[in-house]
């Protein structure tokens, strides 16, 4: 009886909604405070910690932007290049592993897949020496080469399993129509694999965008730093200028916010579709 009543009122969701609202509030509260503080001068901030106060100091944003923009541009270039390279190399490699049988295939594939178990912290120091000896320190190459090779491990695996899941009939149809192997790859396989390529791109983006340690050891030139490293510089330079500091924080979240707005639907449905299994 009670159950029926609750259904008819349509508020069975209420307790869950209430919990979620509390949870959401705690999640967003620090972010809101950062935005509020970014609009204040230091005097306003010390005077009134919690609430927004007029006049809004939009000047904070322009002075923060003058410093942050370079880091953002660098990060976009580095991460963008990495994503394109990984997407291209991993689709080809994944396709080869998924569709062909050739001598030593298992051995070569193991050379990829075992690396999942090798932690980045083990290889950090020797890799730095290697990159230094190759003369790549303080160049974008130091970041891109290592990010690409590191990202290839998981990406190739993902692409391989995706290509393997495509039905054979699809390929047979293309072959019957007289398509060459490269045509089957470019005109049939890659367009079909777009959701998986998007997932690969997204994980690569987040991984490289947030990497702090590797740039920290390889990049010393301020004008070449990616965003994560640059923000660390920025935060120590503006340690006590809270408004500018937080304006910089807000600005540096905008790029991923844009990507999020465009690609989030695919990202969530891709990962929650039950495709990830232990």
């Amino acid at each position: 009886m009670r159950k029926r009543l609750r259904y008819s009122l349509g508020n069975r969701d209420l307790p869950f909604q209430a919990v979620l609202v509390c949870f959401g509030f705690v999640t967003f509260f620090p972010l809101v405070l950062v935005v509020i503080t970014s609009l204040k001068s230091n005097t306003q901030f010390y005077h009134n910690f919690w609430l927004p106060e007029l006049p809004f100091q939009l000047g904070n944003y322009s002075s923060a932007f003058r410093i942050i923009w370079r880091y953002i541009v660098n990060s976009v270039l580095y991460s963008g290049t990495t994503i394109c390279l990984i997407a291209a190399i991993a689709s080809v490699a994944g396709y080869v592993f998924a569709r062909f049988r050739f001598p030593f295939k298992t051995v070569i594939f193991l050379a990829f897949i075992t690396l999942i178990m090798v932690p980045g912290v083990l290889t950090l120091a020797p890799r730095f020496v290697l990159v230094r000896d190759l003369g790549m320190v303080n160049t974008p190459m130091a970041l891109i080469s290592v990010w690409v090779s590191g990202g290839l491990v998981l990406s190739t695996w993902l692409m391989r399993s995706y290509f393997e899941s495509l039905p054979q009939e699809l390929f047979d149809a293309a072959y019957v129509d007289g398509a060459a192997e490269w045509q089957v790859f470019t005109y049939v396989s890659v367009p079909l694999a777009r959701p998986m390529i998007a997932t690969v791109a997204m994980t690569t983006l987040i991984g490289t965008w947030n990497d702090l340690i590797w740039p920290l050891v390889t990049i010393t030139d301020k004008s070449k730093m990616p965003l994560a490293q640059g923000l660390m510089q920025f935060s120590s330079a503006y340690e006590t200028d809270w408004g500018t500091l937080f304006a910089g924080y807000v600005i540096s979240s905008i790029p991923l916010l844009c990507v999020f707005a465009v690609a989030m639907r695919q990202f969530i449905s891709g990962l929650t579709s039950g495709a990830v299994k232990a």
Binding site: T27, R101, G120, V129, S149, G274, K277
Partner: protein
């Protein structure tokens, strides 16, 4: 020419009967296609990995100084007090984080799948994944602000509630520093773990929940007898991922405290970083790396064994 897709067996049988050199030659384009990724992996992944194993037996400054010392670095690790403190810090930290980063996402996901309104559950997913757009480093910087002793959010909040007595230099006190670091990013859900667990909960067939509610199972019973057992695989995966991430990521410690005050927030990965890049002891750093690698491998295997054993029994 080499349309010997794995599933068209007639082709591949023919191929496997051909002599090896001929099969190699036939696959030349395939090898060419794999040349770039294999070279990259050999150079930037395999070479450093083996270099770490090899150089853990040497005193090495990353340059010309290169003296064989055998297992001396490993012996030194056994008696290194910093390493012991770092290890015990790490164990506590990882246990705390694994629990927190499994319970919180599970809790949120459970709430979300309980909603009847599909539109709301979609929006809540977006809302909880949203913090992903904030760069990781910003998380740390924002939390540095939260813990700031003079104008920090936490202390200001305590003062607002009239709890002035509890304000604290959270990161400056060796007693609270590690706890403070364990709570960094606190209510924010780890995106990957959240989506994995949510995906698991969503694949539980609707009929199971329906029949449970017909049998009179309430929220808690359903939670413990259906939802948790049926997502055990996803939960295990989320736990392993958290464990692996937390063991090897030290940017949090580097940015927030750099191991201090004293060694109260030192962890092995940070010690590795400092040995290599502050003290130029690349050999010793490599030894720490090897120990961490072996430990993580062992833990992963045990974890998988335990969970698959539990699933079988």
């Amino acid at each position: 020419m080499f349309r010997s897709a794995t599933r068209s067996s007639s082709y591949s049988l023919l191929h496997s009967r051909a002599p090896l050199p001929r099969r190699l030659w036939r696959a030349k384009w395939l090898y060419l296609a794999l040349l770039v990724p294999v070279t990259l992996l050999l150079l930037f992944e395999w070479l450093p990995a083996f270099s770490a194993l090899y150089n853990s037996l040497y005193i090495w400054n990353g340059g010309k100084v290169h003296i064989y010392v055998g297992l001396e670095h490993y012996e030194r690790l056994l008696s290194d007090r910093t390493f012991r403190v770092a290890l015990s810090n790490l164990v506590g930290f990882v246990i705390f984080r694994v629990v927190m980063q499994t319970v919180l996402p599970f809790f949120a996901a459970e709430m979300i799948i309980n909603l009847r309104s599909a539109r709301w559950s979609y929006w809540w997913k977006i809302i909880f994944v949203f913090p992903m757009v904030v760069p990781t480093i910003l998380n740390y910087l924002i939390w540095r602000f939260i813990y700031n002793p003079q104008v920090g959010l936490l202390n200001e909040g305590l003062e607002l509630l009239g709890l002035d007595a509890y304000t604290h230099a959270w990161l400056g006190d060796p007693l609270t520093a590690m706890w403070a670091l364990s709570f960094v990013r606190f209510p924010w859900l780890p995106t990957l773990q959240f989506l994995i667990i949510l995906g698991g909960l969503q694949t539980i067939p609707h009929e199971v929940h329906e029949s449970a509610s017909i049998d009179g199972a309430g929220f808690w019973r359903r939670l413990f007898y259906i939802d948790i057992p049926m997502t055990r695989r996803q939960i295990t995966l989320a736990m392993i991922l958290t464990m692996l991430f937390m063991t090897q990521r030290f940017d949090l410690f580097l940015v927030m405290t750099d191991g201090g005050p004293g060694y109260s927030t030192m962890v092995p990965a940070l010690q590795l970083f400092q040995s290599a890049f502050s003290f130029l002891e690349f050999g010793y750093a490599s030894a720490i790396g090897v120990v961490l690698f072996v430990g993580m491998l062992a833990l992963t295997v045990i974890n998988l064994r335990v969970s698959s054993g539990a699933a079988a029994g």
